[in-house]
């Protein structure tokens, strides 16, 4: 049988049973649409998490002190309890590692902050101007403190927008205003741009923080930005080796610091959302299988109903293959149309979710191709048995079938 004849026959046959065909196809439509929507939502979640991470800054390494464990001491204190990171380490890294773009020391803690009449408790970060570049902070109003202010132990502070609201009310112009942090007077020099996260904080020069707030030289963290994504792992290894050497530690197991790689954090987050995507897709996939069973059911009914027609076709010269193809094409056509409508529906629903409910969704070309492939495959898988059954019918008995 010629291909064009088969297509024609398939079309006629589907058109003959419009209601039944459409109801059966609906199962595939819903299956495909839900696969596309679910994968789109999963990918959307993945995308927004990655965006959030990117807002924190890109290509970041962050070094924290390891746990304190003095000689002969069996009890390990918590992470970061060791006072192992110093300003010298910053110099070592800046001078020793090629792939490092910027390094910033961090001393942080939570302190009571008082403005005229109001007070709040927030995170105070002592750092250098490099920090803004590394962590993607921008200044909305005023300016960040400068390196010379750091050297001079200037008592200036840069506030996050939420902190400004807490202390002065929404939209207040605060540059030049005075606040006290832990009883020490500061002048506000700038306000950062709202990021959505990390908006309730205060930056002060690191030297000032060490001198007035902490009272010692210890660093609570070192933030490092590497030139490119590709150099992240190499940089991590080099920094680890450098600091081990400078700290005089032979065994990496006993390192008094810990390096965290942002790529690892992204990978962890991605694997969580990846699992979510797979899970959502699998749930939707089940509905697709149910749709496929619907197709099979309908095809079996069709074969029984058309037994005499099959007998006739065989009598006038149809071979087994011709009959198999005829019914197989029919089920593939059904699932393919179902897939097509399902893709459109899935697209519309994903778009609607994003537009009206604000649920991030990301439709991938891959999931659309997959949906088409899977729907055609379902046509083959679930159409195979009914069409084989049709092909195996005995012509004589089929002609006599009432």
């Amino acid at each position: 049988m010629k291909f064009s004849d088969l297509i024609y026959e398939t079309f006629i046959s589907i058109a003959t049973n419009k209601v039944r065909s459409s109801l059966t196809v609906l199962g595939i439509v819903i299956g495909i649409a839900s696969v596309i929507v679910m994968i789109a939502i999963g990918r959307g979640a993945q995308g927004s998490i990655q965006d959030e991470i990117a807002k924190i800054g890109s290509n970041l390494l962050s070094i924290r002190p390891g746990s304190q464990q003095g000689p002969g001491q069996q009890v390990s204190q918590g992470q970061g309890s060791a006072q192992s990171l110093t300003m010298e380490d910053i110099t070592y890294i800046e001078e020793g590692i090629e792939s490092v773009k910027a390094v910033a020391p961090v001393v942080s803690g939570n302190y009571q902050v008082i403005a005229t009449g109001t007070n709040t408790r927030t995170s105070v970060t002592g750092t250098t101007p490099n920090y803004t570049e590394i962590k993607s902070f921008e200044i909305e109003d005023g300016s960040f403190f400068t390196d010379s202010q750091v050297n001079k132990l200037a008592r200036v502070a840069v506030l996050g927008p939420d902190t400004v609201t807490d202390l002065f009310g929404e939209g207040a112009s605060v540059v030049g205003e005075k606040i006290t942090i832990d009883g020490v007077n500061f002048v506000i020099s700038g306000v950062t741009v709202a990021k959505g996260t990390q908006d309730d904080l205060i930056f002060i020069p690191i030297t000032t923080a060490q001198q007035y707030l902490v009272g010692d030289e210890k660093l609570s963290q070192i933030e490092i930005q590497v030139n490119s994504q590709e150099e992240m792992d190499a940089a991590e290894t080099e920094i680890e080796a450098l600091l081990l050497e400078k700290h005089g530690i032979d065994d990496p197991e006993e390192a008094d610091f810990r390096i965290m790689n942002q790529a690892d954090i992204i990978a962890t987050a991605s694997s969580v959302t990846g699992t979510l995507t797979v899970l959502l897709g699998a749930v939707a996939g089940i509905s697709l299988v149910v749709g496929g069973i619907g197709i099979m059911n309908m095809m079996l009914t069709t074969v029984t109903e058309r037994t005499r027609e099959i007998g006739l076709r065989k009598a006038i010269g149809a071979k087994r293959d011709d009959i198999t193809k005829q019914f197989l094409y029919e089920s593939i056509a059904l699932t393919f149309f179902g897939g097509l409508i399902g893709v459109i529906l899935g697209y519309v629903v994903s778009f609607g979710l994003e537009k009206f409910i604000g649920l991030a969704s990301d439709i991938s070309g891959f999931s659309i191709a997959l949906a088409f492939g899977v729907s055609a495959l379902i046509g083959i898988v679930f159409g195979y048995y009914p069409s084989k059954r049709a092909a195996k019918l005995n012509a004589i008995e089929a002609l006599r079938y009432e």
């Binding site: 049988m1 010629k2 004849d5 026959e9 006629i12 003959t16 005499r308 027609e309 007998g311 006739l312 076709r313 065989k314 009598a315 006038i316 010269g317 149809a318 071979k319 087994r320 293959d321 011709d322 012509a395 004589i396 002609l399």
Partner: protein, 230 residues
Amino acid sequence: MIKCKNLVKIYKNGDNETWALKNVSFEIKKGEFVAIMGPSGSGKSTLMNIIGALDNPTSGSYFLEGKDVAKLSEDDLAEIRNNKIGFVFQAFNLLSRTTVMRNVMLPLFYNKLPKNERKKRVEESLRAVNLDPNRWDHLSNQLSGGQIQRVAIARALVNHPSLILADEPTGNLDTKTGDMVMDTFRKLNGENGHTIVLITHEPEIAEHADRIIHVRDGEIEKDVKTNNKH
């Protein structure tokens, strides 16, 4: 053209063996109009299935135009049926909700005839059975019984078969339309020289043929010429 020798057909049902055909031999020449007649259970349907290449005999040989058909595979038989045999059934077996032309064209889907030849063949066949051209585009379920059976005959002709095999073609028709259908067969045999084998249990219908093979209990009871002019 048809040469059957020692045809035996045994149906097995568990331990039961039914001999539907017991050693049947006969010949049919090109251009003959033969009726195979017998009561139900006589084995005439079994004989028709074998002649029609729908079934293999248990033993014996069946030559159709010199080709031994008795032992061919299912798909080879399908090809024989498509090329050499035109079927006309009691129940017509037209595809409903399908046009007359499309119905007649159906056998051509299963061979390699070029597409542009198809329409010509279909028109030629429909003319041969005298079906009003106004009806050619009608759906098959909009036709009368006589018209339906003539469409079915046209479908049997469309492949230019060596043999037209009609199984009780008038069984579902009243006498008048039945006669009209038989006239069509007569004309096809007389004017166009088609070889026709008619299977029936009605003596009046069998009388339209030139020769009647009487089958009873799986054997040929008698084989007689009728006194139709020839």
